[in-house]
Symmetry: C2
Subunit: 451 residues, 2 copies
């Protein structure tokens, strides 16, 4: 028979078993942490009706969408988890209780140009708090606390959550009479690090038609840097010119205060007035998170406060605040950087049982006892040489191997080898299980990510 060459599409992550175990760990930590903060898990379809999914229309995303016909239906694969959330909340509004806090970890699809480290199918891990009409500022402060907890639980330390408030930016540009051009200006300002202040000034006064004085004010404004208190002080001194600006400065001060109460260390967050994020969508606090040793990969967790989650579906005003982690890309980068902790057990089992008897009854009973104690056990009953079976455990990194022959069975003991130390014990089943569990606990102390 002619064979079809097996292949996986480019831009689609498919992990080998060991890294997949690490990825599962990462997802488990996200689920656990999000749950501790009172977010409920949600799952929505990967496929939606195109008219629903693309209600907002236009934009860069549309070209990348996987869109197709099935029968009469015009269908699309979701390209993020925010639009499906908006649909969900609008559709199930009467069955939900607000504030509605949900997390969702799911695959999304974007037909981007294939390149190293870019994925067409990738996991996003989102949390959002949706209010009905109103939403307390506390939620805006809690979100970076959740980012901090999540990243810490994963084992990351050298990361910084950058915080800003869109009202400060909007108010500032309004006070200069530049509201209409705010979007273009922010895009120009975004290039500051790359092209330097002089060139940014040239763009501002050139294409964007700002006066020399306005341009200088903008440059002065975005060069407000330093510690949190310094920036808040600088903002304080600019109050009184624009109401939105003042409100933004007040909100930022509140968020910073609560961040301290939430225990986010000063070195893990930073007020950064240059951050804008999605130009139309966000209306209050905005966030970016950068890995200090890998600024080149950009923000790995971003989001912010918005006023109208579901404006394309409902008249209801549903303000919210949320963040999204591009999980597949983050995992890929961590792997590339060798930051996945190789000491964590990635084997499919904790114990490999090698029965040395014709009848497998005793071996099966032992496997059952191990599993009942929460130890992952595998029986190896294939027709292989002893050496090959040991090599099997070795290759997979299975930490313990148990030999069970007639001698052991009649003596009521179990021969158990610690594959890392080579140490071998002959103890009864109960003591063996106890020893294995203690050993596994010791091994699984570390975090998934090691810096």
């Amino acid at each position: 028979m002619a064979k079809q060459t097996p292949r996986t599409l480019s831009g689609f992550m498919e992990l080998l078993p060991a890294p997949q175990r690490q990825m599962e760990r990462v997802m488990e930590i996200l689920r656990e942490t999000y749950s501790l903060y009172g977010f409920t898990p949600l799952d929505t379809p990967v496929i939606e009706s195109s008219e629903v999914l693309l209600a907002k229309g236009g934009g860069e995303t549309e070209k990348q969408i996987y869109r197709f016909q099935k029968g009469d239906a015009d269908l699309s694969l979701r390209f993020d988890l925010t639009v499906p959330l908006a649909k969900y909340v609008a559709l199930h509004y009467n069955d939900l209780t607000f504030p509605f806090r949900r997390f969702q970890i799911g695959k999304v699809y974007r037909g981007e140009r294939a390149q190293r480290g870019r994925f067409r199918e990738f996991y996003q891990a989102d949390i959002d708090v949706i209010g009905d009409g109103k939403l307390s500022i506390l939620n805006e402060a809690e979100i970076p606390a959740i980012i901090y907890k999540t990243f810490s639980a994963l084992g990351l330390r050298r990361f910084r959550i950058r915080v800003n408030n869109r009202k400060i930016l909007n108010g500032f540009y309004a006070s200069l009479g530049l509201t209409d051009k705010a979007g273009d200006i922010m895009r120009a300002v975004d290039k500051l690090e790359k092209i330097g202040p002089e060139k940014v000034k040239a763009i501002l006064t050139g294409d964007l038609g700002a006066g020399q004085e306005q341009a200088q004010e903008i440059l002065d404004f975005i060069s407000i840097t330093g510690g949190t208190e310094e920036i808040l002080y600088a903002l304080e001194s600019r109050r009184g010119r624009d109401e939105t600006f003042d409100q933004g400065a007040e909100e930022l001060r509140t968020v910073v205060k609560y961040l301290g109460d939430f225990g986010v260390p000063a070195e893990n967050f930073q007020v950064d007035l240059t951050i804008a994020r999605g130009l139309d969508y966000y209306t209050g606090t905005v966030y970016e998170t950068v890995l200090e040793d890998h600024p080149e990969i950009g923000s790995v967790c971003s989001g912010g406060r918005y006023d109208n989650l579901a404006e394309y579906y409902t008249e209801k005003k549903l303000p919210g605040v949320g963040i999204s982690i591009g999980l597949t890309r983050l995992f890929y980068v961590l792997g590339e950087q060798g930051m996945l902790n190789p000491e964590l057990n990635t084997a499919p089992a904790d114990v490999l049982i090698l029965p040395m008897t014709e009848d497998l009854g005793a071996a099966i009973a032992l496997a059952t006892a191990l599993r009942a104690s929460g130890v992952r056990a595998q029986l190896h009953c294939e027709e292989k040489k002893f050496k090959q079976k040991i090599s099997y455990a070795d290759k997979l990194g299975i930490p313990y191997v148990i030999f069970l022959g007639d001698d052991e069975i009649s003596a009521g003991v179990v021969a158990c080898k610690d594959m890392a130390t080579g140490e071998q014990t002959k103890l009864d089943a109960k003591a063996t299980i106890y020893r294995i569990k203690a050993g596994l606990d010791a091994r699984n102390q570390g975090t998934v990510i090691r810096e």
Copy 2:
């Protein structure tokens, strides 16, 4: 602005938060149980190249496939997890260690005619053990033990795992000289329960051209019922006519013996000689699992032993054994039957904290302490009346509400109300957390499914 009516496609399950929590529990139990048996988690793309996914071609499935073009690429959504596994094993053969034991819980897509309880997007939860060239019979016995453990862990009791061996069937029809018609005969036999033995006999002697004697032998054979030992005995008495038959009978005896060793109670399994499953694919032990009180929904967990997992991709002989649970459908049926345990906590949080002070510092510190103890806590700081906040906890089923006012803070206590009993305590934070954790443990004793 004109609004787009939000809707979810028909045939796509989208759960409200409370049932979603139950679904997550089910998935967690599957992951845990599968892991205990030494299966490693796997995740493969939802989209595959059509030529790869449809290498086998033909069949009922092809019409149902979501297939589309994106640029030059001819793509399809996976319709099961077996073909992607075959591709995975063939593609990564050199990086895998055999026997390769993997589980996968993932969404698959079939554009079936929409009807109640049928889904176009649904989860399958699969486990497979793949050997390289050979695979021990023990694996065929372990699989129903895993089904038993999984279903028991979910809380199901009244289910029956039906076991047969394809070699018995193939050998039996070969001994009658009916090998060529075996497929059609098995389809006819499959109707036995519906149409009765006389009509089956008419089909056999009519369309299928079997002689009267042959038809009677078939009817006699499939009417071998009773306890496991009776059936094994009846098979024993028919030995010696066909080698394949004898081998199948021997394998079945071995599987039954080990099933006992694995501790599967007699009432949860049954040898059933009428079971055939996928006609071309399976070659040894086959399984079906039925809920005794809901035979109408058919098998909820099926599978078997096959000889050639990846024959469309590789010359390597990769025998295996596996099962698949149609999770979405099973969950739907359990829900419809009212079998999801309503006593399990489906709230997004275990505790709702109502700060009664201007400054939220103390409330935030308490939330942080609760979360550090593994208690899911939510701060409710919205501008709502006290009554509305209590009603929020009530609606969501949040088991505890904590009030934190100036009096409590200065007295170093926390007022905590058990929403089920109405009992209110004023204890320090540590004692309150202790009480809450004890209460949660007591509440979460039950299984997800209650019969």
